[in-house]
């Protein structure tokens, strides 16, 4: 699999996201935002899925440096730069004309509509530019937030266009991109033509003696002295210099388009704030959904468990009551059975209550609660909690249920011989680590309980990282905000 060195990771939802910090970098894992799932540690090393196309026809024997001029990707990027100039001229002209026209007319009632049209045009061009970047640079930039119109109508639309930050950022793009497009077009076209011209010089140097009346390309010349590239050595050196240029051009073009990519991402994509809003909206959805799911689960547990048992119990006691006089022995047996039922019902109710919220967690905190969970696990678990104080109750609860679920997984699936739970505080984060020496192969992306856990943690700006290669061992680390 040939990998070009240039592409880098580019998938955090927005660059300043505080959540994707230490843990991720330390463990060298990544979240696959595009699939909306927590990607697993085990898939690390399968490449980044970006810029991994194979160069057509040349096979894999050539090193990337030699392959670059023929790669489809290089051609696409070169095409992007070529297209940039005419497009940027259109964009720049549109913006400058319309904006100055609009600004000039502001004193009349025409100014505002013209300005709104200018901005709307910029938004349209922005969409075009995103599509161009997606097609040629393979750059996925999300749509910015749509216009928020309180009521329908042309006036409201104009207001929304003028007030939208996206419009103005798109306008800024049309202005900034123009000089850059001129620059990168000149550089790219000059380098490219010069490279190929010099490289192919041995093929056409005969033109000079045959038609131009001189030996070759003139390097230097005044009245006394001229230097021509005409002997075989000079021709070879020229071709080599051309080769160097040809090989270097794709990388230079790539560097140029990287800047274009930054501009598209920064000025045409959603603003960091709106990206955060989208993320928080989805988190809130998760919170609401999980709360509803929890209530449903509790209702189901009650319905199928304790409630059914109590009904049976009532029935048994009813029967016993009827039998009391006719058949006291049978009645006694029934009461005995009912007694057993009551005890089971009590046990079930206790388990259910613990599943809703363990009392010991409220009373004594994570250390005691986790010890209690660990003691119910089928494998021996070492628990170490090193916390200077107690985090916020909600965080404690999530931490507790995370460990509880992970230990249940260990009991059910891991075939481990031992497990360990560590809890500590790192700056303003609560860290959990649950490890086992079992068979591994845990995968959060396969709709398991792990995916649910990841969702729950995500909802409070937490992170769940699963490192579980097939064959084990498994290590799950969760990071939660401390929030006192």
């Amino acid at each position: 699999m040939g990998k070009t060195p240039a592409p880098r990771r580019r998938r955090t939802p927005w660059p300043g996201d505080p959540r994707r910090t230490t843990l991720e970098l330390r463990l060298n894992r990544r979240r696959d935002e595009e699939n909306g799932t927590e990607s697993m540690a085990t898939e690390y090393g399968h490449g980044y899925g970006y810029g991994e196309e194979q160069s057509a026809g040349t096979g894999h024997r050539l090193p990337p440096a030699l392959r670059a001029p023929f790669e489809a990707r290089s051609w696409r990027e070169f095409g992007y730069v070529l297209l940039s100039l005419p497009l940027s001229i259109v964009l720049f002209t549109w913006t400058v004309t319309m904006a100055s026209l609009g600004a000039g007319l502001l004193v009349t009632f025409l100014g505002v509509p013209v300005l709104a049209a200018a901005l709307a045009g910029c938004r349209g061009f922005g969409a075009l530019e995103r599509a161009r970047a997606r097609g040629l640079l393979r750059l996925e930039v999300a749509e910015p937030e749509p216009l928020r119109m309180r009521k329908p109508g042309a006036l409201a639309w104009m207001g929304a266009v003028l007030k939208s930050g996206t419009s103005w950022r798109n306008l800024l793009y049309t202005l900034v991109q123009f000089p850059w497009a001129v620059f990168s077009f000149s550089v790219a076209v000059s380098l490219w033509t010069m490279g190929w011209t010099l490289l192919t010089y041995p093929l056409w140097f005969w033109v000079f003696p045959a038609y131009a009346g001189q030996g070759g390309i003139q390097l230097y010349g005044d009245e006394h002295h001229s230097v021509y590239l005409d002997n075989p050595f000079e021709i070879t050196v020229t071709a080599l210099v051309g080769l160097l240029f040809t090989l270097a051009t794709p990388w230079i073009v790539r560097a140029l388009t990287t800047v274009d990519g930054l501009m598209v991402r920064g000025l045409l994509g959603p603003s960091p704030l709106s990206a955060r809003v989208v993320e928080l909206e989805s988190d809130r959805g998760v919170v609401v959904d999980t709360a509803a799911a929890d209530l449903r689960r509790i209702e189901r547990d009650l319905h199928d468990g304790a409630q059914a048992r109590l009904v049976t119990l009532a029935m048994d006691l009813g029967l016993a009551k009827e039998k009391l006089h006719e058949d006291p022995q049978a009645a006694a047996r029934m009461v005995d059975e009912a007694h057993g039922e009551v005890k089971t019902a009590l046990q079930e109710l206790r388990d259910l209550a613990r599943g809703i919220h363990p009392a010991v967690l409220t009373d004594r905190g994570l250390d005691a609660a986790l010890s209690s969970v660990a003691s119910r696990c089928t494998v021996p678990v070492r628990v170490e909690v090193d916390l200077p104080a107690r985090p916020a109750p909600a965080i404690e609860g999530i931490a507790y249920f995370t460990v509880s679920e992970l230990l249940q997984n260990i009991s059910k699936h891991s075939r481990a011989r031992s497990a360990a739970v560590d809890v500590w505080r790192a700056a303003d984060r609560l860290m959990l680590q649950v490890t086992d020496d079992g068979v591994g192969g845990a995968d959060a992306s396969r709709g398991s309980g792990l995916a649910g856990l990841a969702g729950r943690l995500d909802a409070v700006d937490g992170v769940l990282v699963v490192d579980s290669p097939a064959g084990g061992p498994t290590r799950v680390i969760a990071e939660l905000p401390w929030r006192t």
């Binding site: 059914a308 009904v311 049976t312 029935m315 009827e322």
Partner: protein, 256 residues
């Protein structure tokens, strides 16, 4: 005294009025002789409860033909039994069953009632909803029951309800009736009833016969008849003789 009432009720079973518990069996010297075995199919996903119900009904001398765990199996079992010409008298079904654990029982009951008009259907649930009662009673109140599961604790009354439904009667949970009474838009008319008449109305809506109401309230049959005719007069309903038609009239009145 026993003999007389038994005879009376045994004849009435196949005509109009269902006699309730006394018509079903006679206790002689602590041993029960079953007069009328009811054939039951139980649909309940909790094995514990299914077995409990089976034990309870068998203990009272009834036949539990089959016990199933979900609505699909219930419909299939009934179809199979019907094909063999052995349609049971009554189905006792839980509302919530697999696969979706919502209202499969009610939907299956409605389907069964359409397909087999002679089949009694008694629906059990952890909680009762007047909406489900309305769905079950749509069209006819013949052979329909809807009870809270808690009612199984009163073994006698529960078995009575099963038998009543098996024989074409109605058994509505007092809670459903209370909901209907409380929700009815005719509160002003209901307010015109005496407390005793309201009590009788409630019991009537549950599907009880005049004699059962008389026993419950410890009054004479004549007194109940007087209350009933008063109620019908005050509500402006035409007096009707059949018990299940009476129930329907009352329910329609309350629901309108």
């Amino acid at each position: 005294m026993l003999d007389l009432r038994t005879l009376e009720c045994r004849t009435s079973v196949r005509t109009t009025v269902v006699g309730g518990r006394i018509g079903i069996r006679i206790g002689i010297g602590g041993r029960e002789i079953v007069e009328d075995r009811v054939r039951v199919v139980i649909a309940e996903d909790s094995v514990l409860l299914r077995e409990g119900l089976t034990r309870l009904l068998t203990d009272r001398g009834h036949d539990v033909v089959a016990g199933v765990g979900d609505a699909e199996a219930l419909v299939k079992t009934i179809a199979d039994l019907d094909a063999q010409g052995e349609l049971p008298d009554v189905v006792v079904a839980d509302v919530r069953m697999p696969p979706t654990h919502t209202d499969e029982g009610v939907r299956a009951a409605v389907r069964l009632r359409k397909a087999h008009p002679g089949l009694g259907v008694l629906v059990l649930s952890q909680y009762v909803e007047e909406r489900y009662a309305t769905e079950l009673l749509a069209g006819s109140s013949r052979g329909v029951g809807y009870l809270l599961k808690d009612r199984v604790a009163e073994v006698r009354e529960f078995v009575d309800a099963v038998v009543r439904v098996a024989e074409g009667g109605t058994a509505l949970d007092p809670e459903v009736v209370a909901q209907l009474l409380g929700r009815s838009r005719k509160q002003d008319v209901l307010a015109g009833l005496t407390p005793r008449e309201r009590e009788v109305l409630g019991l009537m809506a549950e599907g009880r016969t005049n004699s059962a109401i008389a026993r419950q309230l410890v009054v004479s049959d004549g007194a109940v008849e007087k209350h009933v005719s008063n109620i019908f007069l005050k509500l402006g309903l035409a007096p009707s003789d059949g018990d299940h038609r009476r129930v329907l009239a009352v329910l329609t009145y309350l629901n309108s």
